[in-house]
Amino acid sequence: MSSTTGSLPTTAPILFEDYLALGIYVGIALFLVAILLLLSWGLGHRTRSRIKNEPYESGVYPTDNARLKGPVPFYLVAIFFILFDIEVIFVASWAVAYDRLGWAGFGQVSFFTLVLLVGLLHLWKTGALDWGPSAARQNRKNQDIP
């Protein structure tokens, strides 16, 4: 069952000195947060009023139906982000060894980037990157052709 498992490097015993820096770092972070909170609690002046207790001070009054209807392009953004972000992994793995992969590697990664570019162009031209009210109106106008 262990035909391909190579020998792992032997683990050294855990030394206190190795973790000292990490410990100091965590300590400083906690200390800083505590100091900031305490100072603002002690030095800040308090006013209590209706306006102060609203969820969004100086913001929109939260007095409407929570189920607002509105265009949500976020899911599109998320999908595009995932698509193009994952592709970067492949490009990065080429970039690590670009000098040794030579022109053949360069050609392959160029083809890969070209494929990405085609995808981007397609998104762009089909209007997937147009957000906002003007795009929504445009879409409604073309509704007869799905």
């Binding site: 053949a104 590697g105 397609h122």
Partner: protein
């Protein structure tokens, strides 16, 4: 990284091993780019370009016959086996594209993105057929399936199409999970994803053959593919998806992806698990019988022709599984032959259904075909030929295919399996003949004035007739090719 490793990795790439699918992908991408610069609703160019792409790819496949190419450190093999299946996929995709434009236009979806999706799906199927590494096969399966999910739900304003897309997606994702789990277990046992290495390792370590992990991996991998092939305990998605999807896509799904799943399944079973042959043939024996019986018996009660063809496609998967149980040269090459024959006859039958429908309503009930054969003689004769072929009557492709498969089973000693198969074919006569009874022995209720005869669909029907008859009358040549293609 070691310099030598890099050199080895690059030297073993060998683009010729994936050239056919690469051409298809390039055509698909080019088509996507052209589409966005043309006004929406223009699709004629897409039909032509994808057909040209399919023909060019076909020429490459023909050129590569008998000259196997191995690439990517033996993760891909473009051998005769892959080439034969590639031709099947190309035939299925070509016939589908020919009948699609008319149908999409009639249903109000003249969307040119459809055609690149079909091309990508075909390319995925090609990777499945030529994959000699679990990962390549999985990659091909995903490329193929993702395209099909979109295509099944392509009519996005129709509830039934949406249902088909969602059902196919959920169950497909589920079955992919099974497959991956099986691959992981087998990797855990043998330490490799390369098919030949797994086979050699299992053969050398016979103590592993009875190991529960090996057996679980084998069964899980089999389940993953049996889902795609729609074999009986895993067939539940088939009728709903086939009924809801656009008719040309149903035709394509029943021929192309099914053949692709058979290709990878055959390769994995033969390369990896040849040491476990008695075990998996016993398993498939039961499944083949179940599939044939359930598919045929439920098809009898269907009144919707599309649904009836869905159940009949389950039954046909059962016939093809008989070839796998036989596990000899005739059985395997019989499967290859049968898949090609099935592509011709089934897609042809669906093409007739495409023409018989009106906008918005598909006219798929049996009553809807009353007297159809007299009012529309050409379509009636075409449908008759396809149904004869699906029944397995000579001189059609279905007869030759079933003959080879059952001959393989008899030669391997599975006499009873062949008897059950033939009995099932007799059962299937009932529901196929019923369509013909309605077409020819009932008075026409309508004059079928809405049925137009666009050139593209007629061409696809004629090609399908030619294929069904050629494979039935002179099956020898193609069967010889199929024999050269198996391992």
């Amino acid at each position: 990284m070691d310099n030598n490793l890099v050199q080895i990795a690059l030297q073993n790439v060998n683009m010729w091993a994936i050239m056919p699918s690469l051409i298809l992908i390039c055509f698909g991408m080019g088509l996507l780019l052209i589409n966005v610069f043309l006004p929406r609703g223009t699709t004629k160019h897409a039909v032509w370009i994808s057909l040209i792409g399919l023909v060019v790819t076909g020429l490459f496949v023909f050129k590569g016959w008998g000259d196997p190419q191995y690439g990517f450190n033996d993760a891909v093999a473009l051998d005769n086996f892959a080439a034969f299946f590639n031709i099947t996929f190309l035939v299925a995709a070509g016939l589908t594209i020919l009948m699609s434009d008319e149908y999409l236009r009639r249903e109000g979806y003249p969307v040119s993105e459809y055609y690149p999706l079909v091309l990508f799906t075909t390319a995925g199927a090609m990777w499945m057929a030529s994959g000699t590494d679990m990962m390549t096969i999985f990659l091909g399966l995903e490329v193929m399936s993702v395209g099909l999910y979109v295509l099944a739900g392509f009519f996005r304003n129709q509830v039934r199409s949406n249902e088909a897309g969602l059902k196919y997606f959920l169950l497909g994702a589920f079955s992919t999970g099974f497959l991956l789990y099986g691959i992981a277990l087998i990797y855990g046992v043998t330490g490799s994803t390369r098919l030949t290495e797994i086979g050699i390792y299992l053969n050398a370590h016979t103590s592993l053959l009875g190991n529960p992990m090996t057996l679980a991996g084998l069964v899980l991998i089999a389940i993953g593919f049996l889902f795609k092939i729609a074999v009986v305990p895993f067939h539940m998605w088939t009728p709903d998806v086939y009924e809801g999807a656009p008719t040309p896509i149903t035709a394509f799904m029943s021929a192309g992806p099914k053949a692709a799943a058979f290709a990878s399944f055959l390769r994995i079973m033969e390369y990896c698990f040849f040491s476990l042959k008695p075990e998996w043939t016993a398993m498939l024996w039961v499944l083949a019988v179940l599939t044939m019986v359930v598919g045929n018996v439920i098809a009898i009660t269907q009144t919707n022709i599309k649904r009836m063809l869905a159940y009949s496609s389950i039954a046909h998967a059962g016939y093809a599984l008989v070839g796998m149980v036989a596990a000899n040269e005739i059985g395997y090459s019989g499967i290859l032959f049968y898949m090609l024959a099935y592509a011709f006859m089934n897609i042809g039958a669906f093409a007739v259904l495409v023409l018989a429908g009106k906008k918005g309503e598909d006219n798929l009930t049996l009553e809807g075909f009353s007297g159809f054969g007299y009012k529309r003689p050409f379509l009636g004769v075409a449908m008759t030929i396809f149904l004869f072929s699906l029944m397995g009557l000579p001189p059609t492709a279905g007869f030759a295919g079933k003959f080879y498969i059952f001959a393989g089973a008899v030669k391997a000693g599975y006499l009873w399996l062949a008897v059950i198969g033939v009995l099932n074919s007799a059962v299937s006569l009932y529901y196929y003949l019923r369509v013909m009874v309605y077409m020819y022995f009932r008075d026409p209720l309508e004059d079928y004035a809405w049925v137009s005869m666009p050139v593209s669909v007629v061409v696809s029907i004629v090609i399908a007739i030619a294929g069904s008859l050629y494979l039935g009358i002179v099956p020898g040549f193609v069967m010889e090719l199929a024999k050269l293609a198996v391992f």
